[in-house]
Amino acid sequence: MTPSARTPDRESVILRLTSRRALHVAFVYACLLALTAFIVLPLGWMLTAALKPDNVPVFTFPPQWFPTKYFNLGTFVDALTQPNEPYARFALNSLLLASLNIVGAVLSNSLIAYAFARLNFRGKNLLFAIVLATMLLPAPVLLIPQFLLFFNIGWYGTVDGFPAGYLPLIVPAFTGNPFFIFLLRQYMRTIPKDLDEAARIDGAGFWTIYWRIILPLTIPALVVVGVFTFLGVWNDFFGPLLYLDDPNWFTVPLALAREVTTVGTEWNIVMAATLVAMLPPLIVYAFSQNKLMGGIASVGIRG
């Protein structure tokens, strides 16, 4: 057991371990880079296609995953302004729906969550259980009767120039959503009760406590609600498909789906329009991704 006898042995062990570790690291990065390519290359292809002018073929062999020599921003201008498919108009429609939904979701869910988090009343636990149980309600069953309900009260299509079909896409947001109620209630429970009690001693009513104390302190969670609402409304396809009939009031996804099924589609413009549909969620995601991840992990909202 002389040092000279041990040293090479230990060295070879360390060498073997480090080379195994290096192999492991290389394997992990190789997999992750391949995955990243799988996510990014389609987006790159789309951008490449959108940047081509009308007279350059979009489909090439081999495929072009990154922008080539063409940087024709005019395709985007065309997509936004073409007379029969003006995506600028559709984007404004989508934004209008999204804003009203955000207002509704933030207001209603915070009101409801405040009652569950802070007030004592009979039947509270039962009602909260019902709120959560509605998460499990089968959406397909509600589809037909909800549609008939809105259809029969005239909340459909366009009536005298007014988009009545927007009402079913907005009003339900003002009645709360079980995921958001749960998320906000959990968050409000972490706000110290001393604050409420101090305010009550000063003569504040429940509304004042909600509006002046709880709501401002809940803003971080309300941002999560707002972001998820925005993504949900901006990306929604099925709702607008059922309730809107006038192309003037179409949302971006609805218009996009209609355009690709039209014969004689110009693919560079379709890809530009697809990018228009993707860009706002990407921007919102870029600014809120940490909060979003927390929200997904805590209530299991799935994209």
Binding site: L32, L126, P138
Partner: protein, 331 residues
């Protein structure tokens, strides 16, 4: 309805790990009926709850009851229906050939999608859970498709997977595959096209798995390492059991999502409800959409919805039955 809630809610408390189960568990553990407040407080509470109560009654309770009635009428879009008993249900099973095709497509999709998305999500989460620089970047990139519009994703992938000109097949030809699949033009490959599209969203499940992985106490791995456990043994005897509640939650989620899938297909097939070559993409919800909204047979579509719901409940019930054997909960 009460029994239905009970059936779904009670097993929910065992979920523990996250998602819908956690809040339900909290309720059941609490058990109390809620302390009565002062008169003013009670009145205030119901005012605060008014928006939810209104929505619950008008957008959930009434439609739910109406759905039962509708399914037993021959209601059309512009013509109120007559009561016809269980005729709609009988028609689905005996007089609508598309019904069995739709069931077959949807069940095939479940068999493809659920394992694929569960296993790929886990694999990606295991990669992301490595302590190496740059993981935050990869996590951010992989989650990107989850925030994008489903229509935009469908348009993009239907273009990429075009059999003659699409970038994917051009790439495959470029690396020497002479005769790549025709994807959405081939009844045998159409579902796989949808699966590839779904795989693009692998980041969603990976993020949920990742949260589960990071909840596993590191000292368990250290102790196992000292006892001489290898990487596979650690995975098999620590990671998998401790991750099983997350996996169970995702399994239920993927199962129910696969049952009601309609999105990517309806985008491309158009509002007319076409369903790929030889009806290879005739998902159950697409059939429901076609019968209800294209053909206007609301009563029949309502019956189709109830049949799907019963199938869904049966599958979820079966999953909960199997849960005890496969899911491990920390004390």
């Amino acid at each position: 309805m009460a029994t239905q809630l009970g059936d779904q809610g009670a097993p929910g408390q065992e979920l523990g790990g996250g998602g819908v189960g956690a809040p339900l568990a909290a309720i059941y553990a609490g058990g109390r009926a809620g302390r009565p407040g002062s008169k003013g407080e009670e009145r205030a509470a119901y005012l605060f709850l008014a928006p939810w109560i209104a929505g619950f009654v008008f957008f959930l309770l009434i439609p739910l009851g109406w759905a039962v009635w509708l399914s037993m009428t021959d209601e059309q879009l512009l013509r109120p229906g007559q009561f016809i008993g269980l005729e709609n249900y009988a028609r689905a099973f005996t007089d609508d050939p598309s019904f069995y095709k739709a069931l077959q497509v949807t069940l095939t999709w479940i068999v493809i999608a659920v394992p694929l998305f569960l296993i790929s999500g886990l694999a990606v989460a295991l990669l992301l859970n490595q302590k190496m620089p740059g993981m935050g970047f990869f996590r951010t990139v992989l989650y990107v498709p989850a925030v994008l519009s489903g229509v935009a994703i469908a348009v993009l992938w239907f273009t990429l997977l075009n059999s003659d000109l699409g970038a994917v097949n051009q790439f495959l030809r470029g690396i020497g595959i002479e005769d790549p699949p025709n994807w959405f033009q081939d009844p045998d490959f159409a579902l796989w096209g949808v699966a590839i599209m779904g795989m693009w969203g692998v980041g969603t499940n990976a993020i949920i798995y990742l949260a589960g992985l990071q909840n596993i106490p590191p000292d368990l791995y250290e102790a196992a390492g000292m006892d001489g456990a290898g990487a596979w043994q650690k995975f098999r005897h620590i990671t998998l059991p401790l991750l099983s509640p997350t996996m169970f939650f995702l399994f239920i989620g993927e199962l129910t999502a696969a049952l009601v899938i309609i999105g990517p297909v309806i985008v491309i097939s158009g509002a007319g409800g076409a369903a790929g070559p030889a009806d290879s993409l005739l998902f159950y919800m697409l059939l429901l959409y076609r019968r209800g909204f294209v053909e206007g047979q609301m009563g029949y579509a309502a019956a189709l919805a109830w049949i799907l719901t019963v199938i869904g409940l049966a599958l979820v019930w079966l999953t909960f039955k199997l849960e005890r054997r496969f899911v491990f909960y920390q004390a």
